[in-house]
Amino acid sequence: MAEHGIPRYARKGERTEEARQQELRKIEKYRELEQCVREKVATHEYTPETLQKISELLSSNPEYYTVWNYRRQVLRSEFSRAESSDSDETTANQVAALIKSDLLFLIPLLKSFPKCYWIWNYRVWLLDEAKRLLPASIACRFWQEELGLVGKMLNLDSRNFHGWGYRRFVIETLRELKSAEQTDEDMTKAEFDYAKKMIGANLSNFSAWHYRTKLIQRLLNEQSARDEERKKMLDDVIPEELELIHRALCDPYDQSLWFYHQNLMCVFDPAVAAQTMAPNLSDSDRLEYLRREIEEIEDMLDGAEDCKYLYQALIDCTLLAWKVEGITPGDGQKRAVLSWLAELKKLDPLRQRRWLDFEQSLGC
């Protein structure tokens, strides 16, 4: 939307008359093309020539959402024509060819305008049409190929919001379309490996960490539904997750990692544990994990005394431990929290009043 990150340029000032005339000619050409497309669509002239004109117009202005709708109308009409063919096979081949060529048309546009909502929307629509009109095995191939595309997009910009949302969407559809021999678990594992690879490439990728949280939950749900088995698995999974995040936190100044850490700590919070990978840990297990976590973070302070996130995490874990234990802390217990808070107030002046509110909530 609008202009993001477009660098300044010298203000145009007065354009020369020649430049002005040149721009006027461009405007005229653009408006002629627009007019031509509108007329053809208004008279339902859904021909390859109209499609060509639409392609030209969208290439010069991919944000023109109404023209994407025109394109859908033309395609729908071509699909209907294909459906009137005698054999199912011919119909499928024709529809598949139309979809394939339209998907190809979008590639250069997505490369030039990776954040344009309308192109992504149109692509999803096209792939949904494949699902609606083609046998599952053929539709599945189209969707499968999207994983390659979205992988490339995320390699170019590993935080692209559309890219991650799109990936999740493609996977959901592939789950619907997949063949009998492929299991849900296999797919989740493959995605889990993908998230792992992306985290490995850039530890600070919050999008990949977020995806990982969701996948772990899914994996556990798929592998077992029963609490005792889940508990046994968690005996492996939780220490593994904690270890991974501790290793990543060798750079404790990275905010993304601390948000992942905060997510993980929700496992030990009785109020929200239900939404996490381990809803039913016992309180004594929770406390034990939290105690070890506090020790771990205290160790990290060594040499990183100026890192505010460490104090924040220490406070969060300590408060959570009080909550699990169900205790009202005495002055002695509050002392440690207050000393960390004093550091926070020093290190984090931007959020000074947040910390003052917190101090007040402690009743000090």
Partner: protein
């Protein structure tokens, strides 16, 4: 009507702490005089949004009369389609995004009754277009007949319908349930269930809950913590961890904090200074960052951000609607 971007640049120096009110008014007024620039035509798909951004900025700047009222109403109405929804410009397809801008504009101009006068089916016609976009099963809203789902549209529907007094046309509790499903453990919200938190989406979800009277569902301290961490050293706000600051997040983050009573959790004077550095002090307008091209989108949300911070000389903005508070108060009271 106004074009969306350019042509100036944001060159405010660090010491320039003045809000160039008059320059910004002139900038918005000038936008429609640029029909000889290709950019004007290439941004036609944003025209109705652009008018909303421009008019809102002018109201907050204390110059509500700077755009001709009747002409603006005529333009808004010329964007309505037969199904009751509005497109970005005459002849463009109806979509939730433009329908919301149209309603906000008509309310701001106190001209909702023009819909009846001109025989366009009255506000009920708009209401039924919006209500028709609710997915009965999930409670979410689609952008248009082609089916994209996004919490932006749910917020837009609530925004427009509540201004028209027509919220009863939709299943509010289903929609609220859907918003709840978009919540993450960090207290924030994503574009759809399961997606990561994004400040823009936080604004739409918290805004929708505010309109539904369900802010009790928000984990205020957790979300307030996440939102306050959007402020970076130079005072600006970003939309997600480790991203660059951008003047428009002054609004998405600031308004969300205001709705949950946590706006004081960030440093408002540093934020104000950042927004002011994004101004073009010569030609008016605000860009995403110091040194960027200005556009009416960032101009509106930069000024709205300053208004949230009670910046001197600005009218008060309503954090739920991004419209002048005096206007939403009048509209919602009736």
């Amino acid at each position: 009507m106004s074009s969306v971007s350019g042509p100036g640049k944001a060159t405010g120096s660090p010491d320039n702490q003045e809000l160039c009110i008059q320059k910004h008014v002139e900038y918005v007024k000038r936008l429609d005089s640029r029909r000889d620039e290709l950019e004007y035509w290439l941004t036609e798909h944003l025209r109705l949004n652009g008018v909303y951004w421009g008019l809102t900025a002018l109201h907050l700047l204390g110059s509500p009369e700077a755009l001709p009222r009747q002409e603006t109403i005529d333009f808004v109405l010329s964007c309505q389609r037969e199904n009751g929804g509005f497109g970005a410009a005459p002849g463009h397809d109806a979509h939730m995004l433009y329908t919301v801008s149209a309603v906000q504009l008509l309310v701001t101009l106190d001209a909702v009754d023009e819909l009846d006068k001109r025989g366009l089916g009255g506000k009920e016609k708009i209401g039924s277009f919006i209500a028709g976009l609710q997915d009965k099963e999930s409670g979410a809203f689609l952008g248009d007949e082609w089916g994209e789902k996004d919490t932006r549209f749910l917020y837009g529907a609530f925004n427009a319908l509540s201004l028209l007094g027509l919220l009863h046309l939709v299943d509010i509790s289903k929609a609220v349930e859907y918003v709840k499903k978009c919540e993450n453990l960090d207290g924030g919200y994503g574009i759809r269930p399961g997606t990561e938190t994004h400040a823009g989406q936080v604004f739409t979800c918290v805004g929708a809950l505010a309109i539904a009277g369900r802010l009790d569902l928000v984990n205020r301290d957790r979300l307030g913590g996440w939102l306050s961490e959007r402020q970076v050293e130079n005072g600006g706000l970003n939309g997600r961890p480790e991203k660059l600051p951008d003047a428009c997040y002054s609004w998405w983050v600031g308004a969300s904090l205001a709705m949950i009573d946590r706006l004081h959790w960030i440093d408002s004077s540093k934020l104000a200074a950042f927004i002011l550095r994004c101004q073009d002090p010569d030609a008016g307008g605000i860009g995403d960052r110091p040194g960027s091209m200005v556009d009416v989108f960032h101009t509106c949300f930069g000024i709205a951000g300053l208004s949230l911070l009670k910046f001197d000389g600005l009218q008060e903005v309503d954090p739920v609607y991004c419209m002048p508070k005096s206007i939403t108060a009048r509209c919602l009271a009736s």
